[in-house]
């Protein structure tokens, strides 16, 4: 997760729903509306069509995909690409690796980030400000700069080319802590004080009282972490080299960047791209309302 997502989530966590109003529509306004629909429709088509083409092309033969790239439907339906994907290409192993890593990283991030966020926002302890300042500084470090350094440290610690090396460096991210901290600060203190007076300990207060109230932020964190770790590429590139540690991202990258040999094998590559996007798409559609109302997302730039 990057600073983008933190800022986005924080900036929009509280939004007012627009209040609908009825108005009379003039002819001029109607014409503008129609124009708007046309433009937006066209744009939406441009945004969606690549994915539709990919799905359609994955069922085409190699030659058909090369010669008729725009057609959504194949001339002759062919499952050859999918067959290859599940036999010669170890797609299932890649998926298993990705799933394992994503589950662990997401769970750890949700747990540790909220823990640290709570400590920074609600608890009083010495050194709090310094740690928070350090957090902000850390968020300023761009991911890309860390590629070589992380490789060196992993090598130094002997964690290179192992699941531990792929997972541990990313189980906590500063942006997530920041999101949780901002959210905790919006929860009224009175609830906690009440619990504390009732005799609950610090961890109990956190776990049973405050955390359930933070559900919106936790869901946000969950979605961001899931997406971030499922789509992570550069870290997996530098932290491993064995073929059996390939995740979906590094595996599909090896397919696209030429491991296939000669010939245009687009259906295979497209099928892989489509399949690897399904889990994040599912999470997206399930949590759509929440995502689209709190406006966070991944940074691709």
């Amino acid at each position: 997760m990057t600073t983008t997502e933190a800022a986005a989530a924080v900036a929009t966590q509280r939004e007012r729903a627009p209040r609908p109003r009825k108005r009379m529509i003039s002819a001029g306004a109607r014409a503008t509306m129609i124009l708007t629909y046309v433009i937006l429709g066209l744009l939406a088509l441009i945004y969606i069509y690549p994915f539709l083409i990919s799905v359609g092309s994955s069922f085409k033969t190699d030659a058909d995909a090369t010669q008729n790239p725009l057609n959504l439907l194949p001339e002759t339906w062919s499952f050859a690409a999918y067959e290859r994907l599940f036999t010669t290409v170890p797609l299932l192993q890649w998926t298993a690796n990705s799933a394992l890593i994503t589950i662990i990283v997401t769970a750890c991030r949700v747990f540790f980030d909220s823990l640290a966020g709570y400590a920074l926002s609600r608890l009083k302890w010495r050194g709090q400000t310094i740690v928070f300042a350090g957090l902000i500084a850390v968020m300023a470090v761009p991911n890309v700069v860390l590629l070589i350094p992380r490789f060196l440290i992993l090598k130094q610690l002997g964690l290179y080319d192992s699941f531990a090396g792929m997972i541990i460096p990313i189980i906590i991210d500063a942006a997530g802590i920041f999101i949780m901290k901002q959210f905790f600060e919006s929860i009224p203190v009175s609830v906690e004080e009440a619990a504390r007076i009732d005799g609950a300990g610090v961890f109990r207060t956190y776990w049973s009282i405050v955390l359930p109230m933070a559900r919106p932020a936790l869901i946000t964190l969950f979605i961001l972490s899931f997406q971030g770790s499922w789509n992570e590429f550069s870290h997996f590139l530098i932290s491993r080299q064995s073929a059996d540690l390939n995740t979906l991202t590094t595996g599909v990258a090896s397919l696209t960047s030429g491991q296939l040999g000669s010939g245009n094998q687009y259906p295979l590559q497209l099928a892989a791209a489509v399949l690897m996007s399904i889990p994040v798409a599912v999470i997206f559609f399930v949590f759509q309302k929440r995502i689209l109302s709190t406006s966070e997302g991944g940074e691709k730039g």
Binding site: L40, P50, T66, W125, V145, I168
Partner: protein, 353 residues
Amino acid sequence: MSKGIRGPEGRYGWLFVAPAILIIGVFLVLPILLALYVSLSNWNGLGSPLGNSGFVGGENYSKVLLESGLAQRDFGTAIRNNLYYVLLVVPLQTALSLFLAVQVNRRLLKGRGFFRTAFYFPSVTSSIAITTIFIFLFTSSGAVNQVIGWFGINGPNWFATPTGIFSPLTGGVPGDGPLGLDWAAWLSGPSVAMCVLIILAVFTTSGTFMLLFLAALQNVGEEIEDAASVDGAGAFRTFFSVTLPMLKPTLFTVLTLGLIGTWQVFDQIYLTGGGDPGKTTLTPAFLAYDTSFYNLKWGQGAAIAFILFGIIVALTLLQRWVLRDRDLGASGVRRQKRALARLMRDAAAGAKR
């Protein structure tokens, strides 16, 4: 009294942040320090850098920045490519996402949810998947060229054309520019292949920023727009004079995030051949990786990574400074509220006439 209840907080506070401090310390701070050392050394990649290398001071940095030669030229090329990428992607994605947000936000629009989903969906998928799809779409006989063909234009061989798009105009400019490239090279613009990556970036990030603008627009509220339009302001006037100023903070966020993100582009470069064609899609991030992992010049690669870090930090600070004056302080907010109140009074008065 409060101390009694909050007594053990000190211990718990540290305990709760301990994992975070540990992980971030070991896997972020420590690596930076180690890489800093490597960038000042002549480590050759064998064994641990701490034992088997010699300190050479700023030699790696001067090789990349100051001494004329291939290393400096490659770095200059990478900076030039990334510069054009930034200069094109950031305004385009900001403008497009703002446009989309404004359109999707309109009250009278049916199917808002559908449009929002459509525009945001590309942001959810992995850069690897999208790049794979784009490679398919932009082959010389691919979907994009077929569509352009309907308009009678012969599309270029997108990924294989290294000529910069401005080079017909600027090809004759004489003289040598900074970092070992001559001015004609600096001014040649992004290559056709780079343009595909620019389109890709705008495609995948406009959805995210659209959501940011949407949230901000909904905070702006409708009464203001109503007031302005009753007052006689047309749609454009309302937008530029009323809505846009109120979006300044979000605009600022979007620009900052865009700047930070575009200077880090790596995945797409890796997947499309690492600089092909003709090193016109080479970027500093990939150059650092390539120099270290392929050419085994770890010190130089680390130096490039740190220079990139410096660029990003400098740009972010610069942008904060440039836009800080116009950020709404407390007095600015009051001023704006008064202006809005005045606007609404006028609207009410106007409606009575």
